[in-house]
């Protein structure tokens, strides 16, 4: 246990008294008004006030300007520098003796009291030559922290930007490892190039060092070392600049009562308090480790009542008789609180271990209770809202009761976890109950009640309307033979396969399309069922005087195929479109796609057929189309016989046989109908 240094409670005056004796090695100057530096008011306005050196090595400092010691700053009095010119204190001897040429560490506290940046150093020597410069601007006129050692250019200067300046502890280290600057426990700048320092005879100043400029600020402490401190020591001093003066004061508290003691009161009152109130916004760790052992030994027949309370009161009193209840209880409340101003890590942790043991010989009633209440609260009122908040309970309860009969082990545990702002709520509970031996009078029971609650501060509801946006339609087709209108082109009896028919494409449109000129397409509904497919021939019929009929037809003579269609229920706009098409393609070859999907090429020969309005806006129009189907479009229209048909008996021919070029004959026996 260590005591904090204070002007009233005392502080370590040498390494033997210090809890950190290593921080006294190389300590060449320690001016700490916070510890009640000697004040000798020898002049008006504190001019001439002497700040004694506590290191035992350096000289004191005295002020030449408007500088005074004030005690309004928490943690002890501080120097207040209240002028921007000559507002410094200085050492009565040259500052060169404070450092070595290749190693120095300066610790200084500075709390600016205004918001104006000036080219005034918090420490420094009145440089005669550049190599003798050792000073720190915190900040300079541009708002940067600048540490200069052995010069003010190049590698002898370390300029750090982006810092904020308020109530800060600075540790500046220079030497063979380069330039390093810590601010409030954080390494804020470094340079690994070794630098050297040239001792000189100039004066060492606090809140000065460059001409007569000074800054408006307060300062509690300045330490100088003639060596480069380790990183750990530098980090420690940047957090606690009074660490060298912490008194090593181990406490040994022993309390006990032994033997047959009657009416023996053992009382210990111990007040342990640790205050970690940093001036920096870093992780705070406060811990108390306390081991209390209360022992009350009594003979049989004496009530043994041992209690441990956080008030550190142990009691052993009273008498009971054999067989009475022995009661052992702990009431312990641990409260950890960490309060920070920023979003640094805060981890309040309570570690509690309670061990109760009652060993009884004999059939006495044994009752072991552990009553524990843990409440963890984490409030997110400060800090960054997106950082996680974790509330965690870790609780281990072990109960053991060993007795012949009866045995009853019951664990009742209620965990309630609540999280706000999109946090996950999770409770993990493991209950293990074991009953060993005995008689199963009371069955072990487990009552587990887990409640997960997520509170939502906002509910976003959407109502989705689709009156004019979404439409539904249903198209159905009853699939049966009637609906499909099964079609078998082959009609007749006996063997033989019908000619394959191209599937009917009832969903095809009746389309007229121009093949020359501007591309015109007219889509009509399918024509009526009375459409006609007319095939015309060229042949010669002659009847001789004897009444004999001679028919002649040259295969080269063309056959004329004509489609006659009638389309009904056309709207007037469609009629106008159709007649416009007829006029534009008058006498020209067009392409016609019929309702079966077959495409034809030909000419509409009756463009002047009338269109009649049979009903209101329902027109009927007919026309004739003379043309031929495209190759492969109508396999049923041009049947290619690939087998000869041979008639039975000779073929009688008249006239010049050469004029006839029939090469088809029937070879099969035709069956009479």
């Amino acid at each position: 246990m260590y005591l904090r240094p204070s002007r009233h409670g005392g502080f370590a005056r040498n390494d033997a008294e210090s809890a950190y004796p290593e921080l006294w090695a190389g300590l060449t100057g320690a001016w700490v008004p916070a510890l009640g530096a000697s004040v000798s008011s020898r002049a008006v306005n504190n001019v001439g006030t002497v700040i004694e050196d506590l290191s035992g090595f350096g000289p004191g400092m005295f002020g030449d300007g408007p500088t005074e010691i004030r005690g309004e700053v928490a943690g002890g009095p501080s120097l207040q520098f209240a002028a921007t010119t000559l507002g410094y204190v200085e050492m009565s001897h040259p500052g060169g003796r404070l450092f070595r040429a290749n190693g120095a560490t300066i610790v200084v506290h500075k709390q600016k009291t205004d918001g104006t940046n000036r080219n005034a150093t918090i420490f420094g020597n009145v440089a005669g030559v550049a190599a003798a410069i050792c000073r720190l601007y915190a900040p300079d006129a541009s708002g940067n922290a600048v540490f200069e050692f052995g010069g003010n250019t190049g590698t002898n200067e370390l300029s750090i930007s982006g810092l904020t300046f308020g109530d800060d502890v600075w540790v500046c280290r220079a030497g063979t490892r380069g330039l390093y600057v810590w601010q409030n426990g954080v390494l804020v700048g470094s340079s690994s190039t070794p630098v050297t320092f040239s001792n000189n005879t100039t004066t060492w100043r606090w809140n000065g060092g460059v001409s007569t400029s000074s800054d408006l600020c307060r300062s509690k402490v300045m330490l100088t070392f003639d060596r480069e401190l380790s990183d750990q020591d530098a980090l420690l001093l940047s957090r606690d600049p009074l660490a060298p003066f912490v008194v090593k004061h181990p406490l040994k508290l022993i309390a006990g009562g032994g033997g047959a003691i009657l009416d023996n009161d053992i009382s210990q009152s111990l007040n342990l308090g640790q205050d970690a109130t940093p001036t920096i916004e870093r992780q705070v760790s406060a811990s108390s480790t306390l081991a209390l052992a209360g022992l009350a030994v009594a003979e049989i027949g004496v009530e043994k009542n041992v209690e441990s309370e956080l008030g550190f009161t142990d009691l052993a009193e009273g008498f009971v008789f054999p067989g009475d209840i022995q009661h052992v209880s702990h009431d312990l409340g641990l409260t950890d609180s960490a309060v920070g101003d920023n979003a640094s890590t805060e981890e309040p942790t309570s570690s509690l271990a309670l061990i109760q043991s009652v060993s009884v010989v004999g059939p006495t009633y044994v009752d072991v209770h552990v009553i524990m209440g843990l409440e963890h609260g984490a409030g997110g009122s400060i800090g960054v809202p997106w950082l996680p908040i974790e509330v965690e309970h870790s609780l281990g309860l072990s109960q053991l009761a060993g007795r012949a009969r009866p045995q009853s082990v019951t664990s009742t545990l209620s965990l309630t976890g609540a999280a706000f702002r999109r946090q996950e709520v999770q409770s993990t509970l493991s209950l293990v109950q074991t009953v060993a031996g005995g008689e199963g009078i009371d069955l072990s029971t487990q009552n587990v009640n887990l409640s997960h609650v997520v509170l939502v501060n906002a509910a976003f509801l959407r109502s989705f309307l689709h009156n004019n946006f979404l439409q539904q339609s249903l198209t159905y087709f009853i699939d049966n033979s009637c609906a499909r209108k099964e079609y078998n082109r082959y009609q007749g009896e006996g063997e033989g396969d019908g000619i394959e028919e191209k599937p009917l494409l009832f969903n095809s449109d009746f389309v007229l399309e121009s093949l020359s000129g501007p591309k015109l397409i007219v889509r009509l509904r399918s024509p009526e069922m009375d459409d006609r497919d007319r095939s015309g021939f060229n042949r010669v019929n002659r009847e001789t005087r004897g009444g004999e009929l001679n028919v002649f037809s040259d295969p080269a003579w063309p056959n004329i195929n004509t489609l006659l269609v009638t389309i009904t229920a056309l709207k007037q706009t469609k009629i106008e479109e159709l007649q416009e098409f007829l006029l534009t393609t008058l006498g020209q070859q067009i392409k016609l796609q019929d309702w079966k999907g077959r495409s034809w090429a030909g000419v509409i020969t009756t463009p002047g057929d009338v269109a009649t309005e049979d009903e209101r806006n329902a027109w009927t129009m007919s026309f004739e189309f003379e043309g031929e189907p495209y190759e492969g479009q109508a396999i049923d229209d041009r049947i290619a016989f690939d087998q000869y048909v041979l008639p039975v008996g000779p073929v009688e021919r008249e006239g010049d046989p050469g004029a006839l070029s029939l090469d088809q004959y029937v070879s099969a026996t035709l069956e009479s109908p």
């Binding site: 007649q579 008058l586 000419v603 020969t605 463009p607 009338v610 269109a611 309005e613």
Partner: protein
């Protein structure tokens, strides 16, 4: 309502008729004469008549109205007339009917004259 005015453009007579019966027609005046040669080549001879259309409307009116229509036809059989049909579509052209037949359609109680007559107007547009 069916409006017949003539002669175009200096109208002197207007004939008002009821809307025509269903069965009115319109047809292109164009003609195609297809000719196919012995080798199957198809030739067409066309008369497009500048895209003119021929309209036919048939009316059922009272006797007096039919006589009025007859008088109109007699007066302007060779003149350009203007017809505003039952759909307010205006047609300019010549009457092509010949002859005009007034066909009795039976008795018409309540109509002037007590008889109904049918007749048709044929117009070929003038483009």
């Amino acid at each position: 309502m069916f409006r017949v005015e003539g002669p175009f453009p200096g109208y002197r007579t207007t004939l008002i008729l009821p809307s025509p019966d269903f069965g009115n027609s319109r047809a292109l005046a164009s003609t195609v004469q297809p000719v196919r040669t012995m080798n199957g080549t198809l030739y067409t001879y066309v008369k497009n008549k500048r895209g003119r259309k021929a309209h036919v409307w048939e009316f059922t009116v009272a006797k007096e109205k039919s006589l009025e229509a007859k008088a109109f036809v007699d007066a302007y059989i060779s003149s350009v007339i203007r017809i505003t049909d039952h759909e307010d579509v205006i047609h300019l052209g010549n009457l092509t009917l010949n002859p005009l037949e007034l066909t009795g359609d039976g008795r018409a109680n309540g109509w002037p004259g007590g008889e109904a007559y049918r007749f048709a107007l044929q117009l070929e547009e003038k483009v």
